[in-house]
């Protein structure tokens, strides 16, 4: 006899404009199981959750809850239907009482007024299910984060949830609080409530989950019993690399024509930021491409944004050329000769309302302007030159940048930094979300820049990009540099092992 799954999602598809987010996503959860959902950034996990809880509408596919097809058009409907979501950031009402937070939206009424004694009793009952005894009349912000999270869970369960979705529930918890959360999750499961557990901390999954589904590029890759898999196996599925099979070379636009010299351009020692970056160290030589690898949450973006002066470090040392200190502001880093292409083009890269021209020359304006006035002809010449050189496909340099495709936007942003003629270019996932053709062009371009003597520090989650593109790859895990791969050691097997944290052999 086959048990009816509590949730069955099949052939889910969803696109945002022309960009497909989910192509063939599926997920099956058994009653009372703790099911992990993992994947890299952009694999489609959050889109999946949002479709499940009614925040997004799916383009195609089926969702069945307890064997019956359902269609939720808002998170509230999903909640009433038995699916509750607990988001990364606890979204409760901080200045109201614990009771109010738990009964919000389903307050017990008496003569049209809220029946407070009953509400408090209900809140207490709900919390006691999780072994929590606290004054439900106190304002929520008097409780610590872990308790708040438990209250959020209690609230979710009080809706008679069949399935509770937890999105990165441990991100703000310490190890002791984590144990409390895990106990609650096991209790829930014992009570027959299924949990969908989304996390990039793989160790946690082995501690608390029964099964795991891996997603990549908007599709479901596999579902396993936790007892059947290893960390290495999961990582290789997330990344799309078989641990036993090396990709053929030539899959990227990189060809290792650049060599790199002995002159040190950037040296970083024991960088920390007090939270997720703990001990990051790396060296970049002149004309070298250095890769920065690691899983989601390893602290790669945080590390480079401290190099660039966008965030201030809590500890560590940095030397850039002759300078022996951190930069206070991005403007200082730019003046010293660093460029930084951010990962999130939309939020941190483009100025959407401005034209290609205005976006391209933005970092150059201080050097280009004469007594505060931008020389019109020189600006247009420079932009035309870059559009031509990088073959940016556009209707003209005065077209708003938001109308360009991802690949062409990225070319404009690369040009923004190339124009400043930096000594070090930091690239954070330079080819993410870009179609294959433009991807190769950008990789070739980076290679060319490096061959011309530019030093590059490149974050990437694509192994072939790192192995074929970089002279050396520095691997971060949980904010620490745990390995540096170079020469013959730099291959996909070693990289996979290092990223998964089983780097015994490869560590240098």
């Amino acid at each position: 006899m086959v048990e009816t799954p509590v949730l069955k999602m099949t052939a889910i598809r969803k696109s945002f404009g022309d960009v497909p987010a989910l192509t063939d996503a599926a997920l099956t959860i058994r009653p009372g199981e703790v099911h992990a959902l993992i994947g890299q950034n952009g694999a489609g996990k959050s889109t999946m959750i949002k479709i499940l809880n009614g925040a997004y509408r799916k383009d195609a596919g089926e969702i069945e809850l307890d064997g019956k097809p359902v269609r939720f058009s808002s998170p509230h409907e999903a909640q009433l239907g038995g699916i509750s979501t607990i988001f990364q950031e606890v979204n409760l009402v901080h200045y109201r009482s614990v009771t109010e937070n738990i009964v919000l939206g389903q307050e017990p009424k008496k003569f049209g007024m809220i029946d407070w004694p009953k509400a408090h009793r209900r809140a207490e009952e709900v919390l006691q299910r999780f072994g929590l005894n606290l004054d439900v009349r106190q304002p929520l912000h008097h409780c610590n984060i872990a308790v708040q999270q438990l209250i959020a869970i209690a609230r979710a369960v009080s809706f008679d949830a069949r399935l509770v979705i937890m999105d990165e529930p441990t991100s703000s918890l310490d190890s002791q609080e984590k144990q409390v959360l895990f106990r609650v999750i096991r209790d829930l499961s014992a009570q027959g409530v299924a949990v969908l557990y989304v996390s990039h901390h793989l160790e946690e999954l082995f501690e608390v989950c029964d099964r795991v589904t891996v997603m990549r590029n908007g599709s479901m890759i596999a579902t396993h019993e936790m007892s059947d898999v290893t960390k290495l196996g999961l990582v290789s599925e997330m990344i799309g690399r078989d641990a036993n099979q090396i990709a053929e070379s030539g899959a990227t636009g990189f060809g290792k024509t650049h060599a790199g010299s002995k002159t040190v351009v950037l040296e970083l020692q024991s960088l920390s930021n007090g939270t997720n970056v703990k001990d990051a160290s790396l060296i970049v030589h002149l004309g070298e491409i250095v890769g920065l690898a690691g899983l989601l949450g390893a602290g790669r973006t945080e590390t480079v944004s401290m190099i660039f002066g966008a965030d201030q470090p809590a500890g560590g040392n940095m030397a850039f050329k002759e300078r022996r200190s951190f930069f206070r502001e991005p403007a200082d880093a730019i003046n010293a000769g660093i460029g930084y292409c951010t990962e999130d083009r939309k939020a941190e890269g483009i100025i959407p309302g401005l034209s290609i021209r205005e976006n391209l020359t933005l970092a150059m304006i201080p050097r280009m302007a004469k007594r505060g006035v931008i020389p019109r002809v020189a600006e247009r010449e420079m932009v035309a030159d870059f559009i031509d050189k990088l073959s940016v496909k556009c209707a003209g340099m005065d077209q708003p940048i938001r109308e360009l495709s991802g690949g062409n936007q990225q070319k404009v942003l690369l040009a923004r930094w190339m124009a400043t003629q930096p000594d070090l270019l930091i690239l954070d996932e330079p080819t993410r979300g870009i179609d294959v053709g433009a991807k190769r062009e950008i990789q070739t371009l980076i290679e060319g820049l490096s061959a011309a003597g530019l030093s590059v520090l490149m974050i990437s989650s694509e192994f072939e990009e790192l192995v074929e593109g970089a002279n050396r790859v520095v691997v971060l895990q949980e904010g620490k540099t745990i390995a540096t791969l170079t020469g013959d050691d730099l291959n996909e097997d070693n990289l996979l092992a290092a990223v998964a944290g089983e780097a015994a052999g490869a560590a240098v």
Binding site: P330, L362, P366
Partner: protein
Amino acid sequence: MTMAKAKDMTGSSTVAKINLGQLARDNGTFLALIALIVINMVITPNFLQVQTLYVNLTQVATIAIVAIGMTLVIASGGIDLSVGAVMALSGALAPFVFLSEFGMASPGLALVLSIAVALLAGLLCGMFNGWLINQFAIQPIVATLVLFISARGLAQVLTNGNLQVFDNPAFEFIGSGRVLGIPFQALMAVVFALILSWVVRRTAYGRYLLAVGGNAKAARLSGISVNRVRLATYAICGVLAGFAGMVVSAINSASDANQTGQLMELDAIAAAVVGGANLMGGKAPIIGALIGAAIIQLVKYTLLANGVHDAVALIAKAVIIILAVYFQFNRAE
């Protein structure tokens, strides 16, 4: 074959229609102004008189001048509620200088000094707003509320809350003088608008302003000092409000700390929005602000000249703002 051709033709006619609609939307403000003028020619008695033009130009100038500054502030992603109060302060400070003993003794120097002091007060108020927003990361609407209250209070303390009447023809020129037959302050509004729209298009500051308003995070990562851009923007807005305050005092031959600039912040925001400014920031249609101010003024005048009550005029203003925002949302799509 013929079907394909027919389909093609209908396709192209839709394109033409869209373009026409687009044209109307892009120049909606200007078309609305033309429509208002045409309506007035039909319904308002004596509309096509030189006198009518003068009255309107004289009254619109202060709104226009403040709206230009407001447009810059809105372009930076902020808002300035203190402009009306700053007008009251500057409007009170100028006479305070030339009515003093020193001012009586050397009127020429005092005139220059009084204007300088009024503008400086506007500058300092604007810089204070910018500093408050930068230093404490306060929302602009809250930060500028400080001077919204206290600048007028300061002006009232300065004048003991009384009307300060004066007789100073040289100063009154700011409010009632004419150059080539055009009211001086209207001319100044146009001059300010031309200068600042050039600044927005051609200078580094202008580019920074649009970048900060369009995406402050990306602007900072491109090396722009977001704080300095904000400080400068609020300062410019303050100076323009200071100038407008002097215009009001000069028109009345008296400074009135209680009334000068009352509700001006709302008129200025309305003019900027009607002119095409986007409250999310990143757009600075300076000439649009001029047209927006003209529309607001003209609607007020139309209703007044046709015997409609003042209170109704306020409602009409609200309708205009709603329409402007509605069209803005359509444009955004």
